[in-house]
Symmetry: C2
Subunit: 451 residues, 2 copies
């Protein structure tokens, strides 16, 4: 029996997925036995994961894969500098990752490639019994998400979505407060991705200069501008839902006693990307591109248990960064935008408290334990936690804390929002990816200080 | 010809309403000739308008009407204290206002009664050629709003909705900034009514004690608890749209080159009002009331010119007050919640400026002129401006700055949102109350320092 055959922990937990209950137990790694990891995609984001993985003694980066020789070199430099052994390198063409899956002997793969590759690369990894840590999002189309889900259920290979914002310190503190009942019964949630990405979507195309400095994208761009911007040309919807919906879904216990039932999206006119080029480079041929993505896209979700969720996607206009979280219950609320918390009976009536005072008092056990370890990590420490969660859960043979159902439902917001907008802001029923399991599954995310 | 026959200024302007173009010119009042005003409803809100009107020399309160003897006495005291002549008093039964319309000889009426009376009282006033200053909202049902509109178009009697937030200092400064182009092209707007009204919806029922102190409403309540709370029992929708939509509509030039095209509403579960009673008076019979109004109701509107608008109604939960305005364009945005403004090229990249600094520099001409006059006025001065606008426009025979189309479209958001929610968050086409006139009409609201 191939050792990978042990890797069969269902993301849903063995008990709740009947077809898998007869399979062997998930593999557990012993102390001192490193998890062999391949990093598929060592671009700007992949390098951050590399950095996190290189700090750990319980993993070994045994393979890397990318089509960009510039970033392969950077990755090898980084690995050498960390004093770790040189990994196998898979590169040269668009099928290099398939060779890595077939030949490298890795236990797990970090998929950190352009969005459009996530589904196929996840599916084939799971088929090869290589555990998947997939960067947001899980796929592009609704079919992609069903396919990724079915591959996971069929193979039982562990799959986790690397949604780091679920681990943001204030987000986890708010979850901790909610679980203590401080907000009362949760009734409404908000989140989103409000981040001026104009200097991400356009650059000069020069390797090593990912942010700004030009108005190129696609073939002539580099890093995210090379692939991400095209989504703003062709698609109009909530293109990047997981940073906003992840924390909201955890608050609402989605797929664990609750589910999304309906969705409607509204998109404003699309002006920001065109204006950015027209203002700064009026003669540039990209001023003629008709960007389809509305500047502000908002999506409402209704939940089975009566909560409402609002997501905002706003990446093409000048604005300060904000994920715009709001956690509102019958006893009070947190609003991220003004960094305020109000708790009835404890805050002065009709007044805000500074959120930081509450969060300091209710720091999540994970942050209490790992704040120092996360100090140097990407995105204010969040990246430590999301990598740690995948590695720890996998090594222990435990269910993934952000699992296949979360991954596909959160990611499916994108194609559903596109459809809603394309059909005149039509309200759509949200598919039940769990096939009814949502009602019986119990919350498992971040209940202690392990991961 | 009865002198009231002169009161025929169409809210749309004579030129744009063909059937009225042959009518006589609107009446204009001479200096020193006071406008005779009746105040219909001298409850808590009506008293605020009384106070504003009593400060003016260009109006005379010649009649008041209310069914509550307690408030009639308060009003007469207030009028006497101001050294003004005692008005005619209409009271005793639910038809007293009809007698006031028929016999008092008033030129204009302030309608400050429960929402459900606004439509019929406005329609009959306009039929009697009594100009109408109507508190928000214009009516209850969609039919109400069509009826109020048709009565205005048929009679030509001036009608204004008393939406005071359109005159809030920061709201007007933001409009002033937008008109100077500082935000660029407007793409997205937000507003709402987020105000913990639990102590308004419930009280002891004792006259003179409108806020809190008990858990009664309806027959046993007093002031707003007497009538307003019932709407939370029977209705689920955006029950109080105008404070939020008014400023957004002015930014988007609704009915003046633009219009609402679609609407969708989402309502969270309804917990707040029940919990408020259950927590504080667990034995009270009102714990058995099933409140229908969702705690947080959000409504999306799409506009003909591509802007999106989000409204939030949140009046049943503990929270600090916020109308949550957001004015976002291609060059920057204002967010009310964090009192921040970002303007590209002037603010530091990706950072907020204090909104107050921008607003101080771009104070609206109306506030520059009238800030002192408004200092003592209700709701931070807004009430001065809204009363002033009605009186000034009427006296000059000019179109109402918040006119019949604004009134009915803003107010119709309520029944439309109820329908959307009742039909599974269905997206509805927004009726065009202007019958196509929206395309040709020009903005007139607050372009100078007159009113």
């Amino acid at each position: 029996m191939n050792r990978r055959d042990f890797l069969i922990a269902s993301a849903a937990g063995a008990a709740s997925v009947a077809p898998l209950s007869s399979l062997a137990k998930p593999r557990v790694w012993k102390r001192g036995e490193p998890l062999k990891i391949g990093v598929l995609g060592v671009g700007m984001r992949g390098q951050v994961h590399l950095k996190e993985l290189l700090r750990r003694d319980d993993v070994a980066i045994t393979a890397i894969c990318d089509t960009d020789p510039y970033m392969i070199d950077k990755a090898l430099e980084r690995i050498a500098k960390a004093g770790k052994p040189k990994p196998q390198v898979y590169t040269g063409d668009g099928d290099a990752w398939r060779r890595m899956y077939a030949k490298s002997g890795i236990d797990a793969v970090f998929i950190v490639t352009p969005w459009e590759l996530h589904a196929v690369q996840s599916i084939e990894a799971m088929q090869a019994k290589i555990a998947v840590a997939c960067e947001v999002v899980a796929g592009i189309t609704l079919d992609d998400h069903w396919d990724v889900l079915r591959a996971q259920l069929r193979t039982g290979t562990p799959y986790m979505l690397l949604e780091n914002v679920c681990y943001r310190r204030d987000v986890l503190a708010a979850l901790h407060m909610a679980r203590k009942g401080l907000f009362g019964e949760i009734v409404h949630l908000e989140g989103g991705y409000q981040h001026d990405l104009r200097a991400v979507k356009f650059n000069s195309g020069e390797p090593g200069k990912p942010y700004g400095g030009g108005y190129e994208f696609g073939e002539k761009g580099w890093s995210e501008a090379r692939w991400r911007t095209d989504h703003s040309v062709r698609r109009n919807g909530e293109l990047y839902p997981s940073h906003g919906i992840g924390p909201c879904a955890m608050q609402a216990n989605i797929h664990r006693g609750n589910r999304f039932t309906r969705l409607t999206s509204y998109a404003s006119k699309a002006r920001g990307l065109h204006d950015y080029i027209a203002k700064n480079a009026p003669e540039h041929p990209n001023t003629k591109v008709a960007f389809k993505l509305g500047d502000v896209v908002q999506t409402h979700l209704a939940c089975e248990n009566g909560e409402t969720i609002l997501l905002t996607h706003d990446t093409s206009l000048p604005r300060p960064y904000s994920l715009g979280f709001r956690v509102q219950g019958t006893q009070g609320l947190w609003m991220d935008v003004n960094k305020g918390i109000h708790i009835e009976g404890q805050s002065k009536p009709h007044e805000w408290d500074a959120a930081e005072d509450w969060f300091a008092k209710h720091d999540h056990p994970l942050w209490q334990r790992f704040a120092d370890a996360a100090k140097e990590s990407g995105h204010g420490g969040m990246d430590f936690f999301v990598v740690n969660a995948f590695v720890e859960a996998l090594r222990r043979g435990e269910p993934m804390p952000i699992d296949i159902y979360d991954a596909v439902a959160w990611s499916a917001i994108t194609p559903l929002s596109e459809q809603s907008i394309a059909e005149g802001n039509r309200t759509l029923d949200f598919p039940d990816f769990t096939d009814g399991l949502w009602a019986k599954r119990k919350p498992i995310f971040a209940f202690d200080d392990r991961y």
